[in-house]
């Protein structure tokens, strides 16, 4: 599942995900009907629209036995919210529960389904890691760090307050630019303090926000999606 933000702004992440999965022997398909999981609508309180998009997404993946997404936020939407969205609609509810079970965030899939923490990646440089908030909801607290630490040539530098929100939060960043700005400013200051070549995250939203702030400040630190890091050899 490569949904709206990844599709539009970070297609390299999708490409890296496909390459990585294929390298690990996984057959990958990309159903063209997929667009957006409906999270922006859900989070803004437009639940009817979110339901429509959830149905659309479930139908798009009807034939997929397993769904992997390099996005904690889409995975969280599917796994944590879809079933509840259809609480009063038993057939769709059952469908949503099954769909949630088949869906995995990338690091979850690698560590907990494929049971691999060394994907044979190589990266020369110092890297730090920002934990996306949706991984907290999914309980994926250590998975990405385990994967990062197995990358050859990489020096992992823990990030101060690595699990604090970067201030993205979708519409939050636009509604309250000052508060969101204070959050991302602190986040990038910690990243600079870590003196790394790149900061890794698992979500397009964080990368947009952190990357946009680093770029505005003329920083030399690169943003890197976990899939991009793990695809490197």
């Amino acid at each position: 599942m490569i949904t709206c933000l990844g599709d539009t702004f970070f297609p390299d992440v999708g490409v890296a995900t496909v390459k990585l999965l294929r390298r690990l022997g996984v057959t990958v398909d990309f159903p063209q009907a997929q667009t957006c999981c409906g999270q922006p609508h859900f989070n803004s309180g437009y639940h009817d629209e979110a339901r429509t998009l959830a149905k659309h997404t479930m139908e798009a993946f009807a034939k997929s036995p397993l769904i992997v997404t390099p996005s904690g936020s889409c995975a969280a939407m599917v796994k944590l919210e879809y079933p509840e969205l259809f609480h009063d609609d038993p057939p769709w509810h059952a469908h949503a529960v099954a769909f949630a079970k088949r869906t995995h965030e990338l690091s979850d899939f690698l560590i907990n389904v494929l049971k691999i923490d060394d994907v044979g990646a190589h990266f020369d440089g110092k890297v730090t890691y920002h934990m996306a908030c949706h991984l907290r909801g999914l309980g994926l607290v250590n998975e990405p760090i385990r994967l990062i630490q197995k990358v050859r040539g990489l020096q992992y530098v823990p990030l101060e307050r690595h699990d604090e929100c970067c201030g993205f939060g979708g519409s939050f960043a636009v509604r309250y630019p000052q508060i969101s700005g204070a959050m991302v400013t602190d986040k990038t200051a910690f990243i600079e303090k870590a003196a790394v070549d790149a900061v890794v995250a698992t979500d397009a939203g964080c990368l947009m926000n952190i990357g946009g702030c680093l770029n505005r400040n003329g920083s030399k630190v690169r943003i890197l999606h976990l899939a991009e890091l793990l695809a490197q050899q």
Partner: protein
Amino acid sequence: MTNMNYAQHEHHDFLNASAEALADPTLQKALVRLTDTLMAGNRKGYAALADSSDLRDHAKRIKEHTLAHLDEYLVQLEMSVHKLGGKVHWAATAEEARKIVVAIAQAAKCRHAVKSKSMTSEEIHLNPALEKAGVEVTETDFGEYIIQVAGERPSHLVAPAVHHTRESVARVLSQHLGETLSDDPKALAMVGRRVLREKFRRADLGITGANFAVAETGTIVLVTNEGNGRLTTTVPRVHVAIMGIEKVIPRFNDLPVFLKLLARAATGQTLSVYTTIITGPRQPGEVDGPEEFHLVLLDNGRSKVLATPFRESLQCIRCGACLNACPVYRRIGGHAYGGVYSGPIGSILTPLFDSVAENPHLPHVSSLCGACQAACPVKINIPHMLIGLRELQHAHKPSRLERWAYQLWSMVLCRPRLYHWAIWAARVILGRRAKAGWIDQMPGPGAEWTKIRDFPAPAAMPFRERWKELS
């Protein structure tokens, strides 16, 4: 109709208040210190309990059960209190609660009230009503006392004076007491002890909240670190406890479930210093403790919430952990929220109890990062409820343009070819503004984004195009 008891100002200016907080370096420093310290405690506290997550689930189930039978447990609580010789009062609104407490004070001829910190009494604005009736009221939690003398409101559930510095406390107390006080925290606290001891010595009415009440025994529980809760229920001859109806739990041995979690969640302590477990008034032969015990059960909007899916918010045990965990609270502090309750839980309670329409910002002042739920001793799904309030807002004060935009957007997203076309269009429009993959000035609502940071330019080719080269 709005209920002025929750939102302090009917048209609280959230944007200005939060901007002021962000621009106040002293407050920023205090908030970082507070939230860092208390969150380190929260993590340590949970980690020290081997099965803290299971215990939190158990606590949540007790609350779920109790709220699903709340009417029955309230009746049982009333019976238990009566058996002990206490009196139960039913207050549907803040106004009724104020009248009840004033009447108790007048009937017992009380002139000097001491109060242990109680958010419920903040909520009903009790002090001015008592003062009008000629009863002197003194807040005795040291932080609350500072706030009372300064004429302010608490800005944190467990650290009400966090927005003060040692210098400002020294200034406020010096002016009030007509002495020149040093700004040493220990010395100031000892001045507090001296002044408040005199208040206790004269007090004839003790007013408290209740952290918990036990239906089967008629017990109420007060948790404090200073001991003012003990003094308030030891010295005066009349004790009035005011509690929200959601505070009742069924059994006496359900108490340790919550006690083991409350202090750990709030500060990381195994228990707060004083847990005062009161079952009725002074018994024959005892030489201290109140002769009269009154329990005021307050609804004030709670039953309205109980009837909705927002019921889960009534599980809150007021530990303050969600405030400490929240990256937004950490930056804007408690006053910016404009209600009696601040932080993530306040963003739910204020709109629900006051008015959804009159508090348009609160449900949105969250990045939905979920740190609150992770810190909550009863795992309240705060992000979910904020989203639910956003939905409710559309019903109360619909923004047609916004709804239309979301409908159009979802319509496009359900038609993959139209969606494909739309991202091409976005690329064409935004591509002209891009410099090396980033845009420093966005049009429309995106302009708010680029006030702070750059926005990524849409890729030359979306993934769905790149897929062709991959297959």
